[in-house]
Symmetry: C2
Subunit: 402 residues, 2 copies
Amino acid sequence: MPEVKVEELKVEEVKVEEVKVEKEKLLGDYSKEPQRWPLFVVNAEQPFNAETPPQELVKEFFTPTEKFYVRSHGPAPDLNAGQFCFHIGGLVDPPKAMTMQDLQALAPKVTVDAVLMCAGNRRNELKAVKPVKGVGWELGAIGNGSWGGVPLREVLRHCKVDLDSPHLHVEFVGVEDCEEKTKYGSSIPMCKAADPKGDVLLAWEMNGKPLTRDHGYPLRVVVPGYIGARSVKWLKHINILDRESVYFFQSRDYKLFIPSVGWDTVEELWDLAPALAELAVQSAICEPLANQVIPTGTAATVKGYALSNGHRITRVDVSLDDGANWQVAEILHQDSREKKGFESRYWSWSLWQLRVDKFPSPCTVVCRAWDIASNTQPENAKNIWNLRGVMNNAWHRVKVSA
Amino acid sequence: MPEVKVEELKVEEVKVEEVKVEKEKLLGDYSKEPQRWPLFVVNAEQPFNAETPPQELVKEFFTPTEKFYVRSHGPAPDLNAGQFCFHIGGLVDPPKAMTMQDLQALAPKVTVDAVLMCAGNRRNELKAVKPVKGVGWELGAIGNGSWGGVPLREVLRHCKVDLDSPHLHVEFVGVEDCEEKTKYGSSIPMCKAADPKGDVLLAWEMNGKPLTRDHGYPLRVVVPGYIGARSVKWLKHINILDRESVYFFQSRDYKLFIPSVGWDTVEELWDLAPALAELAVQSAICEPLANQVIPTGTAATVKGYALSNGHRITRVDVSLDDGANWQVAEILHQDSREKKGFESRYWSWSLWQLRVDKFPSPCTVVCRAWDIASNTQPENAKNIWNLRGVMNNAWHRVKVSA
């Protein structure tokens, strides 16, 4: 495998430092926010962070765009696609700028169906164990979309990037002015970026229509199987680097520590922990809702979602007695059959249900999923508590009243 | 993607049925077994099934061949490499036969370092919950080897097999006369068989020397990241199929069910359950041994292994108080640096240790591993009990006496 000889490249500028937001006064300008779905569960208004109510998640395989959770770090950019261009720099000779027209002419549009999920999804269950920092998400910081665009791989190939180098990383920087006083930047390893089966897209379409402002108009990245934080919206820069991005959201924010690490001890540990990337096996109950009343002995259906970083979900187990006994749920909708040979490309979620003739209320309903690699979820949130409250995939429990 | 048009191929014979063992009298002929390491923990003499003592596992990154666990289903075949040939059939036109010389001339030899682990490793912990069928393994049905051979992909390409078809499976059949009254057969999906990063080998070398009889001399398959049962020894037939193998070891034996499924109810469920393939995230404690005495307050080191179907192990946590508090273990040896860009090719195990200055004996030591996808192990074996006793990756617990 040929190594990239950095010294031989005439690189104009390797963007290694975070681009500080120049106009700090803009940080607070929320006067031009787009209209939003009134039924969102809004966890923060400015920047806007809102999730989909659980029962809406399981209504359709593809989450309607207007109901799709929104994770913002600043005011929603309002860009003009006609005047828009993005730049490919770093270890690229020569650096390039591309308009949307350039991009769309580069290769045929492809469509990739994929879940996006925030690493903080289900954070509130960790908060209930012990306080954590971060937006308080229930189980709705997730949605399944159909994304249209050009494979990132084609853009990299066009720029003559060495697709086979295991040492390279691809950094994405958006135009968003984040409350963290930086632009939004993040990266993925080349092995994912260049993998034809990795299905990473530069996307301008969501569910068959142009991206909306909240979802990155006019251009975003979609990194199937990875935490949502890598699917950078309002994409402006793609930088080829010989190390991970040093942006806050890669180097500091989305990392996992053992329960004993607190804010007093984490500082020296950040650089030792790997940045979160692929999503673990996950499932959650969307119906019944927490504390819902189901009269004892009546019929009801338990519904939910499951996913595992592109691995096929092979089984979802449901317990009506807090994990003592299990039944196998029916998988209603999963990625389509022609993909089934590729056990690693199940990018959409699996929606599932279990019909219960006589609900044993009051009771605690629990779900857990299994993937094709026999990975399953850990039992208790308290055992996987971490100070950032990320990657909670403990058994999901819902108490039902009689 | 072009579909394989089965009807257009002049296939001489698709081997779809199990090859029944013709000479049943041979089943019992164990008079010519090879010499074996005297320190093996022997779980069954005929067929020979033996594991490595835990403390031997963590002595070296590569498990010495003579100490490498042996999983047999019948007498060890005694083949002559000079007269040996194997066959490629099924959806291949024309079918081919190859000698070892043909194979070695086909492509340059490559070396792949990979763990092999029996799906039944750690079965005894499940047996302690409730009886299960299968050889009683502790935690030593695992070893890390360096394998030399030719990529399976090259052989398939040579035979003009469609490497891109997601519908195809590659079946391997060995010459072993199994006590289950069949030859040993199994299969993997084409997406694994043909993946250049899947690293599936037809191997004739183990740790730099020709395979020994117990490990498949003269030729075996090595399927990195998959359960050991797919790495068929004494390989005789490779069949390209448009479905999974129907051999017992694929269609019946290595499958996972919920705890409530027993031998009275499993029959109609076999065909609904997926065959085990990739290995889940796993770790186990090799030192101290179960019930070992470590005087209270003395220094001791906890050592073990961890792996996750080729995913990088990012953290191993050790608890000295049965999971209430955790410390991060030091990872001593992992796949080499040049592979680190490929987060999916960590085929070897990670060996780890935690030095403890003052051991709090008596106590229960626990370990759990995390991989790059943030998957971790479930807490309790009782929750993942299954009637075949496979894929036990619950937290590994070792009681230490004072």
